[in-house]
């Protein structure tokens, strides 16, 4: 049978117009503004191994997080790197502006009361000395200013005058002053010590410091009995050698001019006649085992008033001394060291600590600092263990200073139930000295700055370009109150606090 229509007719059949066809499924519903052909005629993409699909055989269904590949850092960082970063002291910020007309601490400026409330810079050559005695602490804000400087406050001027009087020829020449500096947190106790050191360096004194008393009692260094005669007194050789090294590098210039003037029987072999004190101290640095006896010898030399017989050759009179200890409270309790019986060793049994605390007592025949000088022992408010005996001892010092008799009922006594450490109380119980030039222990409490001093301090921030504010009395008064009545540490925080200009 033949079909009803022929092939030729079929071939002649034209394709249906597009509009009659049903719309294709894949085509976009509306025409895009650009070509879509590439998207439409693209090969169907290969299905990715996505989480949506059914799990393969024995494969977990839960979402898998991509693990971040850890970067290979040298782990742990090299020994001591973190410590150096933590202890690093930066004294200059080259970005800060130079303050014009800023004076340096010198013999004239340290007694000039017109400079009260202004900032005195530390002279550049002295900075190496101050670094050597570790006068700067990493928590202080030296690093944001062009160069280090300190505020001249009332206590600074008093201290400056005192140092001036002790050095110059007058009735106070050769006086020994003993002070314990206390105060709330951030009131500038450590910086007060720093100012004292700076002034002492300008007056060519010998400066001996213990910047971190805590390091002596936390059992980080070796210790040994001092001798067989007194087995319960301990000596720390490395710490003593470090003290000698600090003293030598800071006071090199002074010590080079002084010569041995006393016999030292236990160091007979190593001491040569005519040796300078610098060379003497270096003996202890080279041989830490002998450090304590070398320190003893150095101390005898520095406190000598006249040469012993046979040593009269080139004897120079000894300069006054500044002894500064920061953070005293750590020395007022048991140390972390143990005795041979495994009992805790009291800090006062360490010969190093004992030496510095015994300076608070009046000397037996002569003054403890016969050439004059200042003992400045500061407490710390941010890093200090609570020690009841020490608190009572400080109150007693204040009462004695105020003239309260020890027999009177007003005299502060330790609460018998609170177990005050009697050794601590005795250490500060110094009777009046028989020597006229030796003062008894005084308590100096630092407080806030006055408003004028605070203004000077904040202006220093502004002149360094760090504080972009209009500084007037009202603004300063506001900050002064915010800083707890001019507590300088808080003022510094406010000064470097950044306020947006909005």
């Amino acid at each position: 049978m033949v079909s009803s229509f022929c092939w030729s007719c079929l071939t002649r059949l034209r394709s249906t117009p597009r509009a009659l066809l049903p719309p294709s499924v894949t085509a976009p519903r509306a025409a895009a503004s650009f070509h879509t052909s590439s998207a439409r005629y693209a090969l169907p993409t290969k299905k990715k191994n996505s989480l949506d699909g059914p799990p393969k055989y024995r494969e977990a269904k839960s979402a898998r997080m991509k693990k971040k590949k850890p970067t290979d850092r040298p782990r742990p960082p090299p020994v001591g790197e973190r410590r150096t970063l933590r202890k690093r002291i930066v004294l200059s910020n080259p970005n800060a502006l130079e303050v014009e007309g800023m004076q340096d601490i010198s013999a004239e400026t340290m007694v000039d009361s017109r400079l009260r409330g202004s900032i005195l810079g530390l002279p550049i050559p002295m900075i190496a000395q101050l670094r050597a005695v570790q006068a700067f602490k990493p928590t202080q804000g030296w690093s944001i200013f062009r160069r280090p400087g300190t505020v001249v406050r009332r206590e600074t001027l008093e201290l400056g005058r005192l140092i001036d009087r002790i050095s110059s020829d007058g009735e106070d020449k050769g006086k020994a002053v003993k002070k314990i500096v206390t105060g709330a947190r951030g009131t500038g106790k450590t910086v007060h010590l720093l100012q004292a050191m700076a002034m002492a360096f300008t007056k060519k004194w010998v400066v001996v410091t213990v910047p971190e008393p805590q390091d002596l009692v936390i059992a980080n260094t070796g210790y040994a009995s001092l001798s067989d005669e007194n087995p319960h007194v301990y000596v720390q050789n490395e710490v003593t050698a470090a003290l000698l090294s600090r003293t030598v590098s800071a006071n090199e210039e002074v010590l080079k001019k002084l010569h041995v003037s006393q016999p030292h029987p236990d160091l007979k072999s190593s001491i040569k006649p005519g040796m300078t004190l610098e060379a003497l101290a270096k003996l202890g640095i080279q041989d830490p085992a002998a450090a304590w006896s070398v320190f003893g010898a150095l101390w005898t030399e520095l406190t000598a008033t006249s040469p012993a017989s046979g040593f009269e050759k080139n004897f120079n009179s000894r300069p006054p001394m500044l002894v500064a200890v920061d953070g005293l409270a750590h020395w007022m309790r048991n140390s972390a060291y143990k005795s041979a019986e495994f009992e805790p060793v009291h800090a006062h049994d360490l010969v190093f600590v004992n030496h510095f605390l015994s300076l608070l007592k009046p000397g037996s025949k002569q003054s403890t600092l016969p050439n004059g000088g200042i003992l400045l022992y500061a407490t710390s408010a941010s890093n200090s263990p609570t020690e009841y005996g020490f608190e009572v001892a400080l109150k007693q010092v204040a009462a004695r200073q105020a003239g309260v008799k020890e027999s009177s009922p007003e005299f502060p006594q330790a609460d018998p139930y609170l177990r005050a450490d009697q050794r601590v109380i005795d250490a500060f119980n110094s009777p009046k000295s028989s020597v006229a030039k030796e003062g008894s222990v005084e308590l100096q409490t630092l407080g806030g700055l006055t408003r004028e001093e605070a203004r000077g301090f904040l202006e220093y921030f502004a002149r360094s370009g760090l504080l972009q504010e209009n500084i007037n009395d009202e603004w300063v008064g506001e900050k002064w109150s915010l800083a707890g009545g001019g507590v300088i540490g808080e003022l510094e925080r406010l000064g470097r606090r950044l306020r947006t200009v909005a």
Partner: protein, 366 residues
């Protein structure tokens, strides 16, 4: 204006009894708007009740202020008689060396006390007071309502006194208006607008806050703040950035000034590398299950967040041991145009430009 009283006789006789709203103005007192107002309706017991001086009145609670609210015509804010006498005496006595005035005149005295002492004055006292002195029973035979003295109740008999009082009130209201124009509703000058960061809840800059929170690990905010302090100090002390001509920071103060304001410096760095858009992968727009990249605009906070995220991620690849040090170094390298963060930003923007055409698809879909 002439003085209202014969002030020379004031010290001699006790000038307690005075006609209400006398037709003269003590302009100085009227102008003194900030003082607590004293209505000296000296009539009857009212005067004796509100006895002594302005100073005492100022300590009164606010409830008593309501009572002394002024009507427009009784707004004659004259001082108390004894006060005025004291002032006058002061003026008069400036040249002579006599003691200025008795404490009675300076501080004011209850009328009853004066009447007790002064028999002559008792005779001339108003009847109510005389009655009260005679029999102090504690009950009053009269009304103490002040409404009685208000003009609208007082009726039509407006005398000369009321007219002048109206003039005075007019003047006072004029002065009041002037004062209001100076400081609308304020006793003192308006304070300057405080910066936003003076509020202790908003004490840190927006960006600083955001960055600090992004630095935070394990919820240790104070650790993050410490790190932020380190970063800011690093920006403050590091040498000013060498600008890269290809990758410039946003317009800002010149480079050497930037370290002096580290917050501005940080803001500048973050804002300069912040992307304008993010790329969203949208499926099913082009059909065939292919995903299409759509650029989506970001808000400022989102843009900054992205940039900070990039910076912190990039800092992870550094080899410094401290986290804060790594971030600080990365920030400086961003400022100098060396960081890979810039590449990320360029890549996102390139994708965004390419994906612009897909926006129409998304628009038509809706």
């Amino acid at each position: 204006m002439p003085p209202r009283l014969n002030l020379f006789s004031v010290r001699a006789s006790v000038p307690v009894f005075r006609q209400p709203s006398t037709p003269s103005v003590n302009l100085a007192t009227a102008l003194n708007l900030n003082r607590a107002c004293t209505v000296s309706t000296t009539h009857g017991l009212n005067a004796s009740v509100q006895t002594s001086g302005r100073t005492q009145r100022r300590w009164n609670s606010s409830g008593s202020d309501g009572k002394t609210k002024l009507d427009s015509t009784t707004a004659d804010q004259l001082p108390h008689v004894s006060e005025e006498a004291a002032e006058m005496a002061k003026i008069m006595d400036k040249k002579s060396d006599r003691p200025t005035a008795s404490p009675e005149l300076e501080q004011g005295t209850p009328v009853q006390e004066i009447l007790k002492r002064d028999k002559e004055a008792q005779k001339h006292a108003p009847k109510v007071m005389q009655d009260q002195i005679k029999k102090s029973t504690g009950t009053r035979s009269f009304s103490t309502s002040t409404r009685q003295w208000q003009p609208e109740l007082n009726g039509q008999g407006k005398g000369f006194d009321e007219q002048t009082a109206a003039v005075v009130a007019n003047m006072i209201s004029n002065v009041n208006k002037q004062a209001e124009e100076l400081h609308p509703g304020l006793k003192f000058e308006a304070p300057e607008s405080l910066p936003k960061t003076e509020n202790f809840r908003k004490r840190y800059d927006d960006l600083l806050d955001q960055f600090t929170k992004l630095l935070m690990r394990d919820g240790k905010l104070s650790m993050a703040q410490k790190n932020m302090t380190f970063i800011l100090d690093h920006l403050r002390t590091a040498s000013p950035p060498q600008p890269n001509p290809k990758r410039r920071l946003l317009p800002a103060p010149p480079g050497p000034q930037l370290p002096l304001n580290p917050v501005l410096y940080l803001t500048l760095i973050v804002d300069s590398v912040a992307p304008l858009i993010k790329i969203r992968q949208q499926k099913g727009l082009a059909g065939g299950g292919a995903s299409v990249q759509l650029p989506v605009p970001l808000l400022q906070r989102q843009r900054r967040r992205t940039a900070m995220r990039w910076i912190i991620d990039a800092s992870d690849k550094r080899r410094d041991s401290q986290f804060a040090q790594r971030v600080a170094n990365e920030l400086v390298s961003v400022a100098e145009g060396r960081s890979g963060v810039w590449d990320k930003r360029e890549q996102v923007h390139k994708l965004g430009v390419a994906g612009r055409s897909n926006l129409a698809l998304a628009a038509n879909r809706r």
